[in-house]
Amino acid sequence: MTSHKKMPIGGRAIEPGKSEEVETGDWRSFRPVVDQELCIDCMSCWIYCPDSAVIVKDNKMTGFKMTHCKGCGICAKACPKKAITMVEE
């Protein structure tokens, strides 16, 4: 993270598009871990994830974007194969 000495005062965003640089996964206390052996690429986790943190490539579920994932655990709950477990950070 930027040092407070380099941050503009008062929470001012002095360049446009600053939100692109902001990562929102830093308050997670549990992270999802997928067991690819059990995964059937049904996309339930992709559908239910409220933060679009499930990465899909060529119709395959390949993992999670950890800079977006808040660790809510909805993917683990939604997975019909119990392929996703929540592990403490």
């Binding site: 929470g11 001012r12 902001v22």
Partner: protein
């Protein structure tokens, strides 16, 4: 300019006229009303170029002021008591947005019971909102503080709002002799407001008032802590420069006959004048006593207070507000300064003058007599008859 016979509110309005701010938004409330009333006369008479905005409440006044300062305008407001309380939601936002709004506060008791007279309960309830706070002993200081305030608040190392406090009625309404500065000298001294990344800079678009996650919030707060620390040096520098144009010398912590004093009383505002008279009286009787006033109250000038109190036998701290269930704010601040002092003086808290109760010289005299005779106790709620 020739000396004037003027009350504190009009003196502040005069300083504002000489500064000619871009925007002023305020809601009338006794005993502050005269400030904005006089100032609106100046606006109506075309003596200033200020955009005067009539608002429907103090909450709106400070919201507007914060926004207009964000836009890049030098912005003034004034309030008192319930008005300051009604602004409370905005107070920490104004400071966190680093908008150097200038606010005169005519210190008045907070209701209830309903009371419109002077004490410091309004300012003390707002003391940790990230505003620089400065107090005046008399009408001259009310005017001088108003002239110096923009220089402190708008300094790029500070960029925090400032409250210039004056005792309601005692200073706001009482007429005193006051030496104003020449208007061109004031203009030159105060200079132009150079805002950092103002909203109305079309060529460099910026966003103000964004939401912070925990990490950013934490760091932005620390930036404010650092800015407050800078305010100590900046205020000292402004005082020094002000002396050059006015001949009047101010210190962050004013001391009166303290050099060889064994017992001192720490007090804020107009009571400092009364206390100095009592010190003279007791000095004439051979008692080694002195008076101290932390003119700059926020940031708390820790080292300067320590220097004033070091080596004393006893320190009485007078609070003109009543925290119900705790000690006075000024007393608590003094205690934080004394906590790591070797051979620190004994310290006593005196609550006085609430809701406009007379703060008499004879009462102040008993404070010193209590300390000298060893009868002083830690907490005293003065003047309550059994």
């Amino acid at each position: 300019m020739a000396d004037l016979a003027i009350n504190g509110d009009s003196a502040i309005a005069l300083a504002w006229k000489q500064i000619d701010p871009d925007v002023c938004a305020a809601y009338p409330i006794t005993p502050q009303t005269i400030i904005v009333e006089r100032f609106s006369d100046y606006v109506a008479d075309g003596e200033v170029n200020t955009n005067f905005v009539c608002v429907e409440s103090e909450h709106s006044a400070l919201t507007l002021c914060t926004a207009s300062s964000s836009a890049g305008a030098r912005t003034f407001t004034a309030t008192a008591s319930q008005g300051l309380a009604y602004m409370w939601e905005m107070l920490p936002i104004t400071s966190a947005m680093r908008t150097p709004v200038i606010m005169a506060v005519a210190n008045r008791a907070l209701s209830g019971p309903i009371n419109i007279n002077n004490d410091h309960s309004d300012a003390m309830a707002a003391r940790d909102c990230g505003w620089v706070m400065i107090f005046a002993e008399n009408v001259q200081e009310a005017y001088d503080n108003a002239v110096m305030a923009p220089r402190i608040a708008e300094h790029h190392d500070v960029q925090l709002p400032i409250m210039t406090n004056i005792d309601g009625f005692i200073l706001t309404h009482a007429v005193e002799r006051m030496t104003p500065l020449d208007s061109t000298a004031v203009k030159k001294f105060v200079g132009d407001f150079k805002p950092l990344y103002p909203l109305l800079d079309w060529k460099n678009p910026v966003t103000h008032g964004v939401m912070d996650g925990p990490e950013y919030y934490y760091k932005h707060k620390y930036q404010m802590v650092e800015a407050m620390e800078h305010a100590i040096k900046v205020t000292e520098k402004v005082f020094k420069e002000f002396k050059k144009i006015s001949g009047r010398e101010y210190h962050l912590v004013e001391e009166y006959r303290c050099e060889d004093a064994e017992y001192v009383a720490v007090v804020l505002g107009s009571s400092y004048g009364t206390m100095k008279a009592v010190v003279d009286e007791l000095r004439a009787e051979g008692k080694k006593v002195g008076a101290v006033m932390p003119k700059l109250y926020r940031p708390w000038p820790d080292k300067h207070v320590a220097a004033a109190l070091e080596g004393k036998k006893g320190v009485a701290v007078l609070d003109k507000h009543a925290p119900i269930g705790a000690y006075g704010a000024l007393f608590s601040d003094v205690c934080t300064t004394l906590i790591d002092m070797k051979d620190a003086p004994a310290v006593y808290n005196y609550i006085y003058g609430l809701g406009g109760k007379d703060a008499k010289a004879s009462d102040f005299r008993t404070i010193f007599e209590d300390m000298i005779s060893g009868k002083a106790v830690k907490y005293n709620f003065m003047g309550v008859e059994e």
